[in-house]
C-alpha cells in the first residue's frame, strides 16, 4: 500500500537497483507460484461454498421434494418470491428488522461512543466488556434467554408491573403488532455492543488536534460530533453497517427459537422460510430460490453501503 506513490525519489532509485532480482517482472508483481499458495484455501472455499452455491442456484430452477425426481420449474420459484404473500412479507419483515439490527445499534453506538470519548469513565473496560458480551454469546443462548424474558409472566412484564406500568404489559411474542419489534429489540441489544466497540476504537484514531481546533472555533458538543467524530468514523460506520445488516438479514436462530415465525406469519423472515420449506414441507426448489433471493439482497445492500458510506476511494 505504501509502495508506488513516489515513482522518482530515493525509494524509486533503490527499487531500480534491486530490480534485476525480480527477473524482468515489474517490482511487486506477484509471481505465478503465489497462486499455488492460495490453492488449499481455494479448494476448501470451492468445495464448501462455491459448489453448494451453484447447486443452490440450480435447485432454485426445479420443483423438488428432496426425494423423488425433480421437475423443471423455470422461473416459477422466483415468481413466487413476489407473488406469494407469505414470502413477500418475510422479505419485508427482514427489511423492517434492519432498523433494529443495523440503524438503531449504529445510532446508539455513535451516541455512546462520542459521549464516552469526551469523558473519562471509571471502569471503562468493564462497561465495554458488558456491552460486548451479547456478541460473544451464541445466538441460541440469547434467544432462549429472551424468550423467557418476553414471556407473559416473564421478567419484562414483571418489571413493568413493579413500576406501575401494568397497562403496558402484554404477551410480547404472541402479539401481532409487537412480536416483530420485540424480536427486533433483541437484535438491537446484540448488535449495539459490536458497534460501540468499533466506534470507540475509531474515535481513538481521530487526531486530538481536530477536536482542539473545533473547540477553538467555538464548536459545541453537537457541532463537534457532526464536524469531527462522524466524518472520522466513516470507515467504521461502513464496517458496522455491513456486519449488522448481514446479521439482520440472515437472522434465523432467533426467530426459530422465539416465535417460529408467528403469531400467524408476522415474524417470518427469509432465512426461516428457507429452513421451513426445505425441511418441513419438502419444497427444496422454493427454499433454494428464497436463499438465492436473500443472497442477492444481502449482496446489493452491502455494495450500496460500501459505496455510499465508505465512499469508493477513501484515503
Amino acid at each position: 500500500m505504501s509502495a508506488g506513490h513516489l515513482p522518482g525519489g530515493p525509494a524509486g532509485r533503490l527499487r531500480a537497483l534491486v530490480g534485476r532480482h525480480y527477473g524482468g517482472r515489474a517490482p511487486g508483481e506477484p509471481r505465478a507460484v503465489g497462486y499455488l499458495y492460495l490453492l488449499p484455501a481455494f479448494i476448501l472455499y470451492a468445495v464448501f461454498l462455491l459448489f453448494p452455491l451453484c447447486q443452490t442456484i440450480w435447485l432454485s430452477f426445479v420443483h423438488w421434494d428432496g426425494l423423488t425426481v425433480a421437475t423443471e420449474a423455470g422461473l416459477d420459484n422466483y415468481r413466487d418470491l413476489f407473488r406469494d404473500p407469505v414470502l413477500r412479507d418475510s422479505f419485508l419483515h427482514a427489511l423492517a428488522l434492519l432498523v433494529f439490527y443495523a440503524a438503531l445499534p449504529v445510532a446508539i453506538g455513535l451516541l455512546l461512543a462520542s459521549v464516552l470519548s469526551r469523558f473519562r469513565v471509571r471502569g471503562m473496560t468493564f462497561f465495554r466488556t458488558v456491552l460486548f458480551l451479547p456478541q460473544v454469546l451464541a445466538m441460541v443462548v440469547v434467544a432462549v434467554a429472551w424468550r423467557s424474558i418476553l414471556a407473559p409472566d416473564g421478567l419484562l412484564n414483571d418489571l413493568l408491573r413493579t413500576v406501575g406500568l401494568e397497562g403496558l404489559t402484554r404477551s410480547w411474542l404472541g402479539d401481532y403488532t409487537w412480536a416483530l419489534p420485540a424480536v427486533g429489540a433483541v437484535g438491537t441489544w446484540v448488535e449495539t455492543g459490536l458497534c460501540l466497540v468499533l466506534f470507540l476504537a475509531g474515535t481513538q484514531r481521530i487526531p486530538r488536534e481536530l477536536y482542539e481546533a473545533a473547540r477553538m472555533d467555538g464548536a459545541g458538543a453537537v457541532r463537534e460530533f457532526f464536524a469531527v467524530t462522524l466524518p472520522g468514523l466513516r470507515a467504521e460506520i461502513a464496517v458496522a453497517l455491513t456486519l449488522t445488516m448481514i446479521a439482520g438479514l440472515r437472522n434465523f436462530d432467533l426467530i426459530y427459537i422465539t416465535t417460529g415465525g408467528g403469531p400467524g406469519t408476522s415474524t417470518s423472515v427469509p432465512a426461516y422460510q428457507v429452513y421451513h420449506r426445505a425441511f418441513e414441507i419438502n419444497e427444496v426448489g422454493s427454499a433454494a430460490a428464497v436463499g438465492v433471493g436473500l443472497t442477492v439482497l444481502i449482496f446489493v445492500l452491502t455494495v450500496a453501503v460500501t459505496r455510499l458510506v465508505e465512499g469508493r476511494n477513501t484515503t
Binding site: T68, A70, V140, G174, N282
Partner: protein, 474 residues
C-alpha cells in the same frame, strides 16, 4: 405424533445448516427408485427365524429419547440381542426434530438404516413411499398376525396407497409401538377448592369454566407460542362439535358427507376457542406463552384443566402426584362413547434397501408383541395394544385412567387422526390461522375458508397428478 413437536432445539438449527450443505447432490437421481418400489413383502411365507440369518447388524434410527420411552427401547433391544446373539442392533437415537431433518438424506443415500421411525402423513411417510424407499410389510403382517393384533383404525394410519397419492388405505408401511391421545388433565386440588366435580360430560366441563373463573382460578392452562398446541385443543373442540366422523374422512381423504372444513363443526369449534380466549378461560396472551411453560405452570397448580397429549403424563405425574387426573374429553352424555384426537407413535418401518428385511420384521414384531407391551407399561409408556401388565395397574391411579381412556376410545372407535395430516401444508395453515382465532383477529368464517382453501388446493393437485400418471402410463 406428527403435531407433537418438542421445543425447537439448537441442535436442529445446526443440523439444518450442515444438511443444507450436504444436500448438494443431483435431485432424485441418486438411486432412489420411482414410485412403487419393491413388491409387497420379500417373498417370505413362514415365520422367519432370525437365528438362522447369520451375523447381522441392524441399524435402527429412532426418536424415543425421553425417559420411559428410551428405557423401554433399551430394554427390548437388549432382550432381542440376547434372544438372537447373532444379531447386533446399532441404535441411532435423536430428537424428533433432528430425526425429521436428517432422515430424508439418510434414506435416499446408498447405505440407509435398516429400520427407521417414519412420521405418518404426507411430508414424511407418504413422501418416502412415493420415492420407493420403504418396504411394504403386508406379507409380514399376515405372518405375524399384526392384522389381528391391532385395531384397524390404528393400522390404517400406517397404510399408504401404492402410488403415494393418499394414506390411510393401501399397503402397510410400518407398525407403531405406542398409543397416544389428546386428553383432559385436571388438578384435583384446584377443582375441589372451587367446588367442582371432575366432569362426566362435555357440558359439565364447559359449565365448570365460568365457575372456576369466578373462584379466581385459571380454568384451562394453555400456551401456544410453539403453535402446535392449539391444533390439539381445536381438534378436541371440533370433535365435540360433532365433527369426529367427518374430520376422520377429511384427514384420510376418503370424502363423503360433511368432509372438508367449510362446515358448521369447524366454525363452531373456532367460535368456542375464540370465546374461551376472550372470556379469560385461557390465559391472557396464550400465543406468547411456551408449551413447556404452560406445562410447568399447570404442574405447580396454576390452572384447573390442561388439554393436551398423553405424552405429557410422565412429566406431570412427577411433580403433581395424586393431585393429577386424566380422562379422554368427556362425552356428550354421561357414560357415552368418547372421541378424541389421537393415534399412535411414529411408525417403525423397514427401508427397501435393507439387506435383512426378515430380521428387521422379526425385530418389529418383537418391539410390538405382548411382552413388549408389558415392558412399556412397566416403564410408564402407553402401549398401542395394552397387555397383561396394563390390567394390573390400579384403576384409580392416573396410569390406570390413561389405559382405561385408551381402551374406551379404541372400543368406541373414537380416535380421530391429527388434523395436520390432512395436506402437506396443513400444519402451517392450521397453526398460523389458529393463532389468529385465539387473538380474535381472525373470524371463524375466515378461518374455515382458509382451511378449506388449503384442503381444496391439495385435492386439486392430487387429481391433476393422478391424471398425469394415468396419462403417462402405456
Amino acid at each position: 405424533m406428527s403435531a407433537h413437536r418438542r421445543a425447537r432445539s439448537a441442535g436442529t438449527a445446526l443440523a439444518a445448516t450442515t444438511v443444507l450443505l450436504a444436500s448438494a447432490c443431483v435431485p432424485g437421481t441418486d438411486g432412489s427408485g420411482a414410485a412403487g418400489g419393491a413388491g409387497p413383502g420379500a417373498g417370505a411365507t413362514g415365520v422367519p427365524d432370525p437365528a438362522k440369518a447369520g451375523k447381522v447388524t441392524l441399524t435402527v434410527w429412532d426418536q424415543e429419547i425421553r425417559g420411559g420411552q428410551n428405557a423401554e427401547i433399551e430394554r427390548l433391544n437388549r432382550e432381542f440381542q440376547e434372544k438372537y446373539p447373532n444379531v447386533t442392533i446399532k441404535r441411532v437415537a435423536r430428537s424428533f426434530d433432528d430425526l425429521k431433518t436428517t432422515l430424508k438424506l439418510a434414506m435416499s443415500g446408498n447405505n440407509p438404516p435398516d429400520i427407521v421411525q417414519a412420521n405418518q402423513g404426507y411430508p414424511d411417510m407418504v413422501a418416502f413411499v412415493k420415492a420407493g424407499l420403504l418396504l411394504p410389510l403386508d406379507n409380514y403382517a399376515g405372518i405375524y398376525g399384526w392384522n389381528t393384533r391391532y385395531p384397524n383404525t390404528l393400522l390404517n394410519l400406517n397404510r399408504v396407497a401404492a402410488d403415494g397419492s393418499r394414506f390411510g388405505t393401501g399397503r402397510l408401511y410400518g407398525i407403531s409401538q405406542t398409543g397416544e391421545y389428546v386428553g383432559v388433565y385436571y388438578n384435583k386440588d384446584v377443582l375441589a377448592k372451587a367446588g367442582v366435580e371432575p366432569p362426566k360430560t362435555w357440558s359439565d366441563l364447559t359449565g365448570a369454566l365460568p365457575k372456576l373463573k369466578a373462584e379466581g382460578e385459571l380454568p384451562v392452562q394453555f400456551g401456544n407460542l410453539d403453535q402446535y398446541p392449539a391444533i390439539h385443543t381445536f381438534g378436541v373442540l371440533q370433535n365435540q362439535a360433532g365433527g369426529a366422523e367427518a374430520v376422520r374422512n377429511t384427514v384420510l381423504g376418503a370424502g363423503g358427507a360433511g368432509t372438508g372444513f367449510d362446515n358448521e363443526h369447524t366454525r363452531e369449534a373456532a367460535r368456542t376457542l375464540a370465546d374461551w380466549a376472550e372470556k379469560g378461560y385461557l390465559p391472557k396472551g396464550a400465543n406468547g406463552k411456551g408449551y413447556d411453560d404452560a406445562t410447568k405452570q399447570f404442574a405447580s397448580g396454576d390452572g384447573a384443566f390442561l388439554i393436551t397429549g398423553t405424552w405429557l403424563l410422565a412429566d406431570l405425574k412427577k411433580p403433581m402426584g395424586d393431585k393429577l387426573g386424566l380422562m379422554p374429553p368427556p362425552p356428550a352424555s354421561a357414560g357415552g362413547a368418547p372421541v378424541s384426537t389421537g393415534g399412535q407413535g411414529l411408525a417403525w418401518s423397514v427401508t427397501s434397501k435393507s439387506e435383512h428385511p426378515e430380521v428387521a420384521a422379526a425385530y418389529l414384531d418383537f418391539l410390538t408383541d405382548e411382552h413388549a407391551a408389558d415392558v412399556m407399561t412397566e416403564e410408564g409408556v402407553l402401549p398401542a395394544v395394552p397387555g397383561k401388565a396394563a390390567r394390573e395397574v390400579p384403576a384409580g391411579s392416573v396410569d390406570g385412567q390413561l389405559i382405561d381412556g385408551w381402551e374406551r376410545l379404541n372400543a368406541a372407535d373414537g380416535l380421530v387422526p391429527y388434523l395436520d395430516y390432512t395436506t402437506p401444508t396443513f400444519y402451517d395453515t392450521l397453526s398460523k390461522w389458529l393463532q389468529g382465532v385465539i387473538d380474535g383477529k381472525v373470524s371463524p368464517d375466515a378461518f374455515a375458508e382458509a382451511l378449506q382453501q388449503d384442503y381444496a388446493d391439495f385435492q386439486k393437485q392430487q387429481q391433476e397428478e393422478s391424471g398425469r400418471a394415468a396419462g403417462g402410463e402405456r
